[in-house]
């Protein structure tokens, strides 16, 4: 096992009930990489993310985070997560944006300790990163879907994680903000050295920005550097998606979902 492995999956399989949803998946993510996880709807991407985070237990195989088996992993502050369902919360929930972002510090603050002034500053800094600092006192339910999404990214960033996992964070965000969003991700990855794993079914854009790509549909069909992925032909992709796929690359963040 290499020292700088952030995530290792070894022959991981999983089924909710009878049908296997994730089958024999092995992959490794190393420090500093920007991984794109792509595949059609229902291909098991979100399930795989939940397995990585210990939210589900694999029926077979092993998962390690920072070299530690996920069930023994304790340093949750090193991981930031934005769920696909992030903004399906109860929209009448009486909480301010600031209160929500501070929950990203729960693991760092520890049992029997309270948030202090420094935590508030950290939360404001994270909000600034996603350009939402003007909304800190707003009720979370008052914001638009795209704004909420940015707040949840701030919540994931506030503990200064080394590894950030995003499950389809650009769905419901308009095209202009998608471009800004990728700019933000690139900055986090290059300047702050944060390792990224981003789920997307927008193959074109993700391969343009990510350093590595995993393509899955229950099992892994491609795993490697983005530039090698471009050699992976449209025929293979169509086979994977079950219908012809028009691969739209290098169109700089226009909205395009091969759904």
């Amino acid at each position: 096992m290499a020292e700088n492995n952030i995530l290792e999956l070894n022959n991981v399989s999983f089924k909710y009930e009878k049908e296997t949803v994730v089958k024999d998946v092995s992959m490794t993510i190393q420090e500093g990489q920007f991984f794109g996880l792509v595949g059609p709807n229902g291909s098991g991407k979100s399930t795989l993310i939940k397995l990585m985070l210990g939210l589900l237990k694999p029926t077979k195989g092993s998962i390690r985070l920072f070299g530690v088996p996920v069930r023994h992993f304790k340093h949750w502050e090193d991981i930031g997560f934005v769920s696909q369902k992030a903004n399906s919360f109860n929209s009448g929930f009486p909480a301010t944006v600031l209160e929500v972002v501070k929950t990203g510090l729960v693991s760092k603050t520890g049992l029997f300790r309270f948030y202090n002034k420094k935590d508030r500053e950290k939360a404001m800094k994270a909000l600034k990163t996603v350009e939402m600092e003007a909304y800190s006192d707003y009720n979370i339910g008052e914001l638009s879907g795209g704004q909420q999404q940015r707040v949840f990214i701030a919540r994931a960033l506030v503990s200064e994680p080394e590894f950030l996992i995003l499950d389809e964070p650009t769905v419901g965000v308009d095209a202009k903000h998608v471009a800004d969003f990728y700019k933000l991700l690139r900055r986090l990855n290059r300047e702050e050295g944060i390792t990224l794993l981003m789920v997307s079914h927008d193959i074109g854009t993700i391969t343009e920005h990510a350093s590595h790509v995993v393509c899955m549909n229950k099992t892994i069909h491609f795993h490697g550097a983005s530039h090698e992925y471009n050699a992976f032909s449209n025929d293979d992709l169509s086979q994977l998606y079950g219908h012809p796929v028009q691969q739209l690359t290098h169109n700089h963040g226009e909205a395009e979902y091969n759904d």
Partner: protein, 285 residues
């Protein structure tokens, strides 16, 4: 009024227990409401009644436990009911809310059998159902005091865990929060508070004291902390005004407390309506 308060110990007990309950019931109520668990409060109050009936029956059959206060048996049943609901929720993974009617109807069914076997509650029944200003003994009041301190301390110490769990369970889990343990602790606290509050507001209205002040606060508050503060304020207001009018009019405090809480709720809804219209007009100008 003041004079009789100083003269009669029972009034002091009721007033002090009421003030503590007016604090702690809405405090837990906020978490209950935002997690959409309001019906659990109803289920637990009904199973408290079963415990009280069981205690009264035992008292009748075995003279030795004459000194027992039925409230404690009610508390034990309420806590057991809370644990049972959690177990049932796991059995019916896709129909978690089924646990509530199962416990609620089971509690009433068993309760009514026990009541009949004990030849009816006679005068007590009414005060258990709708509360009483005379039923709180000094030792009951002290029990309520201990429960209040305990619950306030736990909510303070686990505030951030309770909050993250209420807002987003999945996020709580990937933050290393032991959701199952905290939830169990929470539901046991709810059971204890319900059995405490039952003495003042009665079994049928105890869930109202946990939810109505919160419903009013939700119309006004911006933040979660404000929601908690306002809920407690409205809860105290309802209990204090309710207890005084209950004594003056000689009616059960459950009725007066809940009616006060409803009036506060109506005022909060009106306030919100008026203030949004006002701000809309302001923007139009």
């Amino acid at each position: 009024m003041i004079e009789s308060f100083l003269t009669y110990e029972f009034l002091q007990n009721a007033a002090l227990a009421g003030i503590m309950i007016g604090f702690v019931a809405p405090l837990l109520g906020v978490f209950i409401v935002v997690r959409r668990l309001s019906l659990i409060a109803d289920a637990l109050s009904h199973i408290t009644l079963t415990g009280i009936a069981a205690s009264l029956l035992l008292e009748k059959r075995i003279n030795a436990i004459n000194e027992w206060n039925p409230v404690y048996m009610g508390m034990a049943f309420s806590v057991a009911g809370a644990v049972l609901i959690e177990k049932l929720r796991k059995v019916y993974k896709h129909y978690e809310e089924l646990a509530i009617p199962i416990i609620l109807s089971g509690g009433i069914g068993l309760g009514v059998i026990l009541i009949s076997l004990a030849d009816g509650f006679n005068t007590d029944l009414f005060s258990y159902l709708f509360g009483s200003v005379t039923a709180v003994s000094r030792s009951n009041m002290l029990t309520v005091f201990i429960i209040t301190i305990l619950v306030a301390a736990i909510v303070l110490l686990f505030y951030k865990e309770l909050f993250v769990l209420s807002f987003d369970e999945e996020h709580a889990s990937v933050s290393g929060v032991n959701g199952k343990l905290i939830h169990l602790m929470f539901i046991v606290m709810v059971a204890l508070v319900i059995a405490s509050a039952m003495q003042i507001v009665g079994i049928l209205l105890v869930s109202a004291l946990m939810t109505l002040p919160v419903a009013a606060a939700l119309r006004i508050a911006k933040s979660f902390k404000q929601t908690i503060g306002l809920s407690i304020f409205f809860g105290e207001l309802s209990v204090i005004i309710g207890l005084i009018t209950s004594y003056q009019l000689s009616v059960p405090p459950g009725g007066t407390i809940v009616v006060t809480a409803i009036l506060i709720l109506i005022m909060a809804i009106t306030y919100r309506k008026v203030s949004t219209q006002f701000s809309l007009k302001g923007e139009a100008l």
